[in-house]
Amino acid sequence: MSADGPASGERPPVRVFLVDDHDLFRSGVRTEIGHAVDVVGEASEVDPAIEMILERRPDVVLLDVHLPGGGGLAVLHAVGRADPDVRFLALSVSDAAEDVIALIRAGARGYVTKSISGPELVDAVRRVADGDAVFSPRLAGFVLDAFAGVPVPLADPELDQLTAREREVLRHLARGYTYRENGRRLEISVKTVETHVSAVLRKLQLSNRHELTRWVADRRLL
């Protein structure tokens, strides 16, 4: 799986910070990814997390969606304002579309479920550290759903619509293909797959499509 990620041997390990209110889960993650990345700290609540993240400046924060004291969203907002360079990968057991979409729109660069395997998580963390996006199959499904059909009228056609290629890439992610398998199937490079997914992430964050705003408004999160 490591060959699937960006070249990993030539640079210092990614500095990762864990935010999750379950001790068992944090120690599990540390064990699973500790050999491949540098875990520089962890927190279980919103306020200490914000403080320590701003102090230690990790490359990637693994952020639990559900946290006591405001949820992952509160951490995202506070850190995002103070230091936009810190990148976030959301991690959750939740399948609720509105939870995930809200975090992505607040700036997280990806979303994976907690059932993800260790090597896949390492891969996802590296991608996020490189500024790419990471979509779980389920998130890819949400996005396809949200951008399905052609509504009238499109406020911003560039942002409110996916290209045929982007849809194709998302479909393969939803089918459970990795980026590399995706590229092989579509006969494009992994880098191109990454570019497409990042473009989708951008649309997801900036588009005002009705379905996206509705998901978020339903939870009154933004």
């Binding site: 209110d21 379950h22 006591p68 399948d95 389920r138 759903d145 939803a174 459970g176 293909y177």
Partner: protein
């Protein structure tokens, strides 16, 4: 979602509201006629003498005081009784005779008074009676609200709020209508313009006075009712959650602790997870599960759940779009189920991905595993069934099935069916 449970703590209820004035009753000890004046005085903290003087003045100035007093006597319960005379009469339909007798008695008394010349214009009496009936309705509504909020005793069984709300709304509307009708009738009957202006002015002054006197009390009451209603809803939700967790999660945990077989434990846990997820995030029971009307998404999820239970694997289901669960959809789901069973049996991998997309002109389903795979050109004996049944099934539907696999590369079965979602 585990976090939501672990951080869920019983929250203390809001402080009980400060005691309201006692409910409106007729006094037993301090009474001249029926204890109405003393009761009113006590209820609103006014001097009893002032109330009596008001009644006398109203009685002398046209006689409305008498009518009001009689109505109050009927509508307001005695201190030591639980219900007013009127309420008791209405509540016991078997006692309708009682009610009629009472009505006749009142009418007779009024006629007697009229014969004696202590009367006032009919044009005044009927509007006042109408308005009084409306007010009585409104007041009764308010008292029921108080009773429903369970103050000063064990709360009764919670009323279904929506229903209660509609009934209450209807009663309030009728009450307001009666009051408005009374005022209208009064104005119509006294269309002497000069007098009308005077009456409107007087009514305005009276209304302003009432608002000043009762406004703060009414606002406090409304606030307390809102608070208590919210608390009641919270309590009900908590009870529902507790009941659900008890029936499902706790039972499953008990089962898991008693089983020695890890496969069984994993299966129980997975089934419980699925059930809890659909309860938390899915459409609440009904729409998605109503017999015979399930749509494609629900059918696929049910099929995946069956495979999970039967073979101890996990199936990650992602569905984009949806369509009615017609015959073609059922057949498609059967084919998908077979593909999942195949992956569960032969791939050697415990996880399967299912992706379905409904487009405007076709439906595609992909069942994928990362298992051992095989060479489709050299089909092993056990896999003959897959090609025959799945491909045959799809061909009969006018669609097709494609199997992609290679040794060591997992297997993906694509099912494609023309005709989109509607």
């Amino acid at each position: 979602m585990v976090s939501a449970f672990s951080t869920h703590q019983p929250t203390p209820g809001p402080p009980r509201p400060a005691s309201l004035p006692p409910r409106l009753t007729r006094s037993v000890e301090d009474r001249v006629v029926a204890g109405v004046a003393a009761g009113l005085a006590e209820r609103f903290g006014i001097d009893v003498v002032a109330v009596r003087v008001a009644f006398v003045v109203l009685a002398l100035a046209g006689g409305s005081g008498v009518v009001l007093y009689l109505l109050a006597w009927l509508m307001v319960p005695r201190r030591d009784a639980s219900a007013s005379i009127a309420a008791a009469a209405v509540r016991r339909p078997a006692d309708a005779g009682h009610l009629v007798a009472l009505g006749l008695l009142v009418a007779g008394g009024l006629l007697l008074v009229r014969e004696l010349g202590l009367w006032f214009a009919d044009a005044l009496v009927w509007p006042v009676a109408l308005a009084a009936a409306g007010l009585a309705l409104l007041w009764r509504e308010q008292q029921q609200d108080l009773a429903a909020s369970g103050r000063g005793g064990a709360p009764g069984p919670p009323r279904p709020l929506a229903l209660a709300g509609r009934q209450a709304g209807l009663r309030v509307a009728v009450g307001v209508l009666l009051v408005a009708g009374g005022i209208g009738a009064f104005l119509a009957a006294n269309l002497d313009l000069a007098a009308a202006t005077e009456v409107v002015l007087a009514a305005g002054v009276a209304a302003a006075g009432m608002a000043l006197i009762f406004g703060p009390w009414a606002m406090r009451l409304a606030r307390q009712l809102g608070e208590e209603r919210r608390e009641r809803i919270r309590t009900e939700e908590r009870a529902e959650l507790a009941a659900h967790v008890h029936d499902s999660v706790l039972q499953t945990l008990a089962l898991i602790q008693r089983t020695d077989d890890p496969a069984t434990a994993a299966r129980l846990a997975r089934r419980q997870e699925r059930e809890l997820r659909s309860w938390l995030y899915g459409e609440r029971a009904g729409a998605a599960t109503a017999g015979g009307t399930e749509r494609l998404r629900a059918l696929l999820e049910a099929a995946a759940a069956e495979v999970e239970d039967d073979y101890g694997v996990t199936v990650e289901v992602v569905v984009v779009g949806d369509r009615p669960g017609d015959e073609a959809a059922h057949a498609l789901v059967l084919a998908a189920r077979e593909a999942m069973v195949n992956a569960a049996k032969f791939s050697g991998e415990p996880s399967i991905a299912l992706f379905a997309e409904v487009e405007h002109d076709a439906v595609s389903v992909f069942v994928r595993d990362r298992g051992v795979g095989f060479d489709p050109a050299v089909v092993p004996a056990g896999r003959r069934g897959l090609a025959d049944s799945v491909e045959g099934r799809m061909a009969r539907l006018g669609g097709r099935a494609v199997v992609r696999s290679a040794p060591g590369e997992g297997t993906e079965i694509e099912l494609w069916l023309p005709g989109g979602g509607a």
